[in-house]
């Protein structure tokens, strides 16, 4: 990364750290949720944007992560931070296992299979044989963590920082992954499946791994989300959630790490705006926003930003050369 990019990043991080002290607790809570979604969207983007496998069911992995955290905290008394690694491992395995049969599926067929997963998971969560753990339709209520070591910040702010730290860690890991061999293999498989295979890339392994890692990210996000909301119930994880995730990465920008952040801000804050525009049909406004993005900004916000930056720097260069 260039020095300019690093400085930009540092500024953004500083602003993010200052945020909870500048805005109300409620806004801090909203931004915590936005960070959670950013991690989830990064996971989905790894799979769909970088590896070309469409998933319409990522809400399911989010739910699995959320329930992991809730069950571990409620039934086994685990501290909230300890639930994250466990949720990560569970979802990694779950994603990998789902990715195996999905190997044979392409494009729309994979979309369909994941669509089915997303739609049927809430029903599985309500299954009465599993009620002992999942709380069935009643769901599970958990407690919000307080700031540790007697730090002079309140619970909302602490949770924000905790989520921010986890988000930064996950983003750095993803960036590293994508820069390396596996990342290049993922993109190669997306662009030229057969050529990649011919060149010796173990496509089966990479694709299943991509599924696993993607699920892991979204599962960690789910766990964080459960801790922030303090409640999990089957109704929280219906099919609409998977749709919202998909919308997030398309709006944010496919195959882009910063896209996850733009997308998260979109899905967290735009529905509220839509609600204010039209009480009668808020989802219709959301849908229209969506269409607008697809038609006018198909590379997503990240793509638009990239183009704007490129144009600005070209203008600056021209001005330099013409003097």
């Amino acid at each position: 990364m260039s020095r300019r990019q690093l400085t930009m990043l540092a500024i953004v991080l500083l602003a993010a750290c200052a945020l909870p002290f500048l805005v109300s607790d409620y806004r801090t809570f909203q931004f915590t949720l936005a960070l959670v979604y950013a991690i989830a969207l990064l996971g989905l983007n790894l799979l769909t944007g970088y590896n070309g496998q469409i998933s319409l069911g990522h809400g399911a992995f989010y739910a699995i992560g959320a329930y992991c955290a809730a069950i571990l905290m409620d039934q086994y008394g685990l501290p909230y931070w300890a639930t994250l690694p466990i949720a990560a491992v569970v979802c990694l395995v779950a994603g990998f296992l789902f990715g195996l049969p999905a190997l044979r599926l392409e494009g729309l067929y994979l979309a369909l299979a994941t669509f089915a997963l997303g739609v049927s998971l809430p029903a599985l969560l309500k299954y009465h044989h599993l009620e002992k753990w999942t709380g069935g339709v009643q769901g599970i209520v958990i407690n919000k963590p307080e700031a540790p070591f007697g730090l002079p910040i309140n619970a909302d702010q602490w949770l924000y920082f905790f989520t921010l730290a986890v988000a930064v860690l996950m983003f750095v890991l993803a960036w590293n992954l994508l820069r390396g061999r596996i990342g290049r293999a993922m993109v190669a498989i997306r662009d030229q499946h057969i050529a990649a295979e011919a060149m010796g890339v173990n496509t089966a392994m990479v694709k299943s791994l991509a599924f696993g890692v993607s699920a892991m990210y979204t599962g960690v996000a789910g766990a964080l989300g459960a801790i922030a909301i303090q409640y999990v119930a089957p109704d929280s994880f219906n099919f609409f959630l998977s749709i919202v995730f998909l919308v997030g990465i398309v709006v944010g920008g496919l195959a882009s790490i910063s896209g996850a952040i733009y997308g998260a801000l979109f899905i967290q804050f735009v529905p509220n705006i839509a609600d204010e525009i039209s009480r009668a049909a808020p989802w219709a406004i959301f849908g229209i926003f969506l269409l607008g993005f697809v038609y006018l900004m198909p590379m997503g916000v990240a793509g638009a930003v990239r183009m704007a930056v490129a144009r600005l720097s070209r203008m600056a260069q021209n001005r330099q050369h013409s003097t």
């Binding site: 309500k126 339709v137 303090q230």
Partner: protein, 399 residues
């Protein structure tokens, strides 16, 4: 000595009216307005219930046009939560922390209300007259800021159980229930009412999801089990399907229907009026499409209200007369609070309703609350459909 005494008395006399006239406000209340917050599912799978929020909004519009409550206008702030608990949490926090409402009123749905239950009580903001029949809202000791309104589901389930035990103790019962908290709460009350005979009397229990297109398969299963009594715990769309299919397959059980789905225009007519004859249920308010209330002043008042303030609302939807009655109750509470519009006082007034009657309730049913009684309506009456009307029979059950 005497002078000091007289001076003291004078001072006391002068001070008291001033103390009485003192206004007390919590956030959301001023001399001019009372801000009331709400979340309702205006979108998503439960959006049919969103009409409740709209009716209540229209009610406040009417109240404001008539001068408000004790001279204050009602500012009704209602957000969509899509029946999704995380969204409810976010919207509730927005209402309390950003919009700074005085209280939350008629938030809808058991999972959404469960999600904000602890939060509302820790913030000491009233979560009043919630729109769900779950039993857990009547817990004044642990959750003093949360109160329900409608008769809870378990009580109703018990009423049916008692009726069966009295009239048909050898009944073989089949149950159809929606696989969520609403359905399971009814089932629990029903089984509790049957006591230790539950296991032997209930020969088949089947559930359905709201994503199922029809419940025809479930009805067929119940019929095949040999049941002669049917406890039908379904929401309006599925209730209509169930009534119709139960009739069409020739299975003619003793049919108990939960009171969420008793609307003549919204359920029985689509199912087929002739197919609904003999169905038993309970009720606590007047069905506006029942001919027996054709000239009832409360129903006429409600119809006029709908026409003027909520013309796009559906007068065939019982939820709208329910919403009117619960809004009237909130109106009464706020009126009683007078100028002392603190949250604590609002809860206190809500917990001091003795014999209050919104006239949309059935005759004989009244609202009673107390410091340890957070269940406003606890009485219902059994009703039976005769093909045209819901005929009330038996006594008013409950207190």
């Amino acid at each position: 000595m005497k002078l000091i005494a007289i001076a003291a008395l004078l001072a006391a006399a002068l001070a008291s009216p001033a103390a009485l006239a003192q206004k007390k406000y919590d956030p959301g209340a001023t001399d001019k307005i009372i801000k009331i917050g709400n979340t309702n599912p205006y979108s998503g799978p439960a959006s049919a219930y969103g009409t409740i929020g709209k009716t209540i909004g229209a009610y406040w519009k009417m109240v404001n046009e008539k001068g408000g409550i004790n001279g204050r206008m009602v500012d009704w702030v209602s957000y969509d939560d899509g029946y999704s608990p995380p969204k409810t949490v976010e919207m509730a926090r927005k209402l309390v922390e950003q919009d700074r409402v005085l209280l939350l009123f008629q938030t809808l749905g058991t999972p959404p209300n469960t999600a904000i239950h602890k939060y509302m009580n820790s913030k000491k903001v009233p979560q009043s007259f919630v729109a769900t029949g779950a039993t857990k809202w009547n817990d004044a000791r642990n959750f003093p800021w949360t109160m329900g309104w409608q008769p809870n589901y378990q009580t109703e389930g018990r009423i049916y159980a008692e009726h069966i035990l009295k009239n048909n103790p050898k009944a073989k019962i089949g149950v159809l229930y929606q696989n969520d908290d609403y359905g399971k709460d009814y089932l629990k009350g029903f089984k509790d009412g049957l006591g230790d005979k539950a296991a032997s009397m209930i020969v088949k229990e089947v559930s359905y999801e709201v994503t199922d297109p029809t419940v025809d398969s479930q009805i067929v299963q119940l019929q095949a089990s040999g049941a002669d009594t049917f406890f039908n715990i379904t929401t309006p769309k599925f209730a209509a399907q169930a009534i119709r299919k139960a009739h069409d397959t020739g299975w003619k059980p003793m049919h108990y229907l939960n009171n969420v789905s008793t609307s003549i225009a919204g359920v029985l007519k689509p199912a087929g009026l002739e197919k609904s004859v003999g169905v038993i249920s309970t009720q606590y308010y007047k069905d506006p499409n029942d001919d027996q209330w054709k000239n009832d002043p409360a129903v006429l008042e409600w119809k006029a209200f709908m026409k003027k303030y909520y013309p796009e609302g559906n007068v065939a939807d019982n939820a709208n007369i329910y919403a009117y009655a619960v809004a009237q109750t909130m109106h009464q509470v706020l009126k009683q609070a007078g100028d002392n519009l603190t949250r604590a006082n609002v809860m206190k007034q809500a917990a001091s309703l003795q014999g209050y009657r919104p006239e949309g309730l059935l005759p004989g049913i009244r609202i009673n609350t107390g410091a340890n009684d957070y269940a406003p309506i606890e009485s219902e009456q059994l009703i039976r459909f005769d093909g045209q009307q819901w005929e009330r029979f038996g006594p008013i059950i409950g207190k």
